[in-house]
């Protein structure tokens, strides 16, 4: 480390309180910025992890979500005749027709929120290998039984195994809890497809899901479904479908986070600017001395800028450390694209760390540039006379 860097570091250390307060301002802004980015990333990751690369989901053409989609029985039957669908050990297609409806349930804090009820079949678990039964059993065909995902059980009232839930004019018994990790399935309730269709008086399905024999056959499947004149359906890889589900919300969160951060950062930048102007005023004679020793204007500019950046970077790192603890929390919010509750974890990625640090550096430069310019432009003789 050169004496000039030591000079900057020691000056920061010498004025501990001012440095701490300025750094805390920066830390707060970076905390807000990184935590909102972590939230958007967590939401996106939860939905991306929900899908599997070798699964295909078929929905009504132009439907944005499963709740908006309708697939008549005859169209579902046509799709199930496609030759690229994987078979199970009994030679049956690994495909399921599913129904997705929304009901309102009370959260543990008493507020109502929409929850996805998915009508599934006996092969749904085989198709979604990330979903594992954790407690009890899955609903029996033809029964009014339901199984709840771990996140939904944790966040909502009345979903303990054995408890009863009333919706669609029927009483439903919770017979099992399934764990789908940090995916959207953990925020769903599953029931038997036929019972659910009867209860909600739905004659059509929402989606059809199947596993591909060879994941690379997707383009053939897509072409076959989307060019068949009997079908008004579209096929998507499940992984892409769920990624699209997160786009609106993730984009909104990122814009919200960036907007808040920019507004807050103005305060932090002004704070840093005041601190750095005070530093220049207190060190005018030192600046004059450095210039006499042969340091050039740009050396002085860089020195003060470096000091401001060091301060903001330290604040940024502190903000990131604070926000990294959010990874231990799971949040639950309404996904506006599916109108249903989704639980997910904050996720800190190397990209967010990099963006946050770059953001801190930008704040440091913005806060330090004017004071640094002032310092570099001081007249040497006048600076030396300031005692």
């Amino acid at each position: 480390m050169t004496p000039l860097v030591i000079y900057n570091l020691r000056n920061i250390r010498t004025r501990r309180l001012t440095s701490l307060l300025t750094g805390l301002g920066m830390a707060f802004v970076v905390f807000v910025f990184s935590s909102v980015m972590m939230m958007a990333e967590g939401l996106e990751r939860a939905l991306v992890d929900t899908g599997s690369y070798d699964n295909v989901i078929v929905i009504r053409r132009a439907a944005q979500a499963e709740v908006q989609s309708t697939i008549p029985r005859n169209e579902a039957s046509i799709v199930e005749t496609l030759p690229w669908i994987e078979k199970d050990i009994d030679g049956r297609n690994l495909s399921e027709r599913e129904l997705v409806v929304l009901i309102s349930l009370l959260k543990k804090d008493g507020s109502p929120s929409n929850v996805v009820i998915r009508g599934t079949g006996e092969k749904s678990l085989s198709i979604r290998r990330q979903v594992r039964l954790k407690e009890g059993r899955m609903p029996r065909p033809g029964s009014t039984e339901i199984a709840a995902g771990t996140s939904i059980k944790k966040g909502f009232q009345g979903l303990e195994p054995g408890s009863r839930l009333r919706f669609a004019l029927r009483e439903w018994t919770v017979v099992g809890i399934f764990d789908a990790g940090n995916t959207a399935f953990s925020s769903e309730i599953w029931a038997d497809i036929d019972s659910l269709m009867q209860a909600f008086r739905r004659p059509v399905y929402s989606s059809l899901v199947f596993k591909l024999r060879d994941p690379e056959d997707f383009s053939f499947v897509k072409r076959a479904i989307e060019t068949d004149p009997r079908l008004s359906l579209e096929a998507k890889r499940e992984i892409d479908f769920y990624k699209e589900q997160s786009e609106v919300m993730a984009r909104f969160l990122r814009i919200l986070g960036s907007s808040f951060s920019i507004v807050f950062s103005l305060g932090a930048i002004i704070g840093a600017m005041i601190t750095m102007y005070a530093q220049v005023s207190n060190r005018i004679q030192e600046i004059g001395t450095l210039r006499v020793l042969g340091f050039q204007k740009r050396d002085i500019l860089m020195s003060f800028l470096l000091e401001s950046v060091m301060l903001s970077l330290a604040g940024g790192i502190a903000g990131l450390i604070f926000s990294s603890f959010l990874q231990f929390y799971t949040v639950s919010t309404l996904n506006w694209q599916t109108f249903s509750e989704l639980a997910f974890r904050f996720r800190l990625t190397p990209g967010i760390v990099l963006k946050s640090l770059v953001f801190s550096i930008i704040m440091g430069i913005a806060g330090g540039i004017l004071p640094a310019l002032r310092a570099s432009r001081l007249n040497i003789v006048n600076a030396l006379r300031t005692g």
């Binding site: 004496p3 000079y7 004679q285 450095l290 210039r291 020793l293 050039q296 040497i380």
Partner: protein, 230 residues
Amino acid sequence: MNNIVELIEITKSYRRGSEIISVLRDINLSIPQGEFLAIMGPSGSGKSTLLNLIAGIDRPDSGRIIVSGIDITTLSEDELARWRAFHVGFIFQFYNLIPVLTAFENVELPLLLTGLSKGERREHAITALKIVGLEHRLNHYPSQLSGGEQQRVAIARAIVTDPSIIVADEPTGDLDKYSAEQVLDLLAGLNSQFNKTIIMVTHDPRAAAKAKTIRHLDKGILNATRETSF
């Protein structure tokens, strides 16, 4: 004898509001290599301005200043800064050490501009501190040193780059009699043992007496040379 510093027809004035104050008028001065020159004069006579012009930290209104064969009045601001780094050692009345750096780091500071390696910088800085007798105070901060010691660190900083000239602006002005004596002996030693050219501005006749030559500046005019018995 070769002149290391030559001032030719130097004039300098300052503007105070609408008033123009003439500080130096048609100054001609030749300083030979190895000289120890004291410039005396009352407050406001232009001593410090003259020193600042020789050190390249201020510019004259007219005239030429040639130091080691370079006309420094023709240099750009960046060139002048680079020139100062290699050719001038400056000693201030109030030491002007950087308070957050140790004695060693203060002395090492000008060497950052020389392109020396870290090891070479360390060697040079320790040698300079040894010359001023402060090799045992390397890691002390200025606030932990007496006034005399701080000025000796400042002298070490001034000589560490082996400059062509050393300029000192009232180097004993803030020191007690004993410390002042030590500092003046040190400057005289640098002049006699290392043949360093020293230009010192002082009010103090006892300090000036240590110099080989004394010039008086009064109302912007430099008076005739007077040799001391030193």
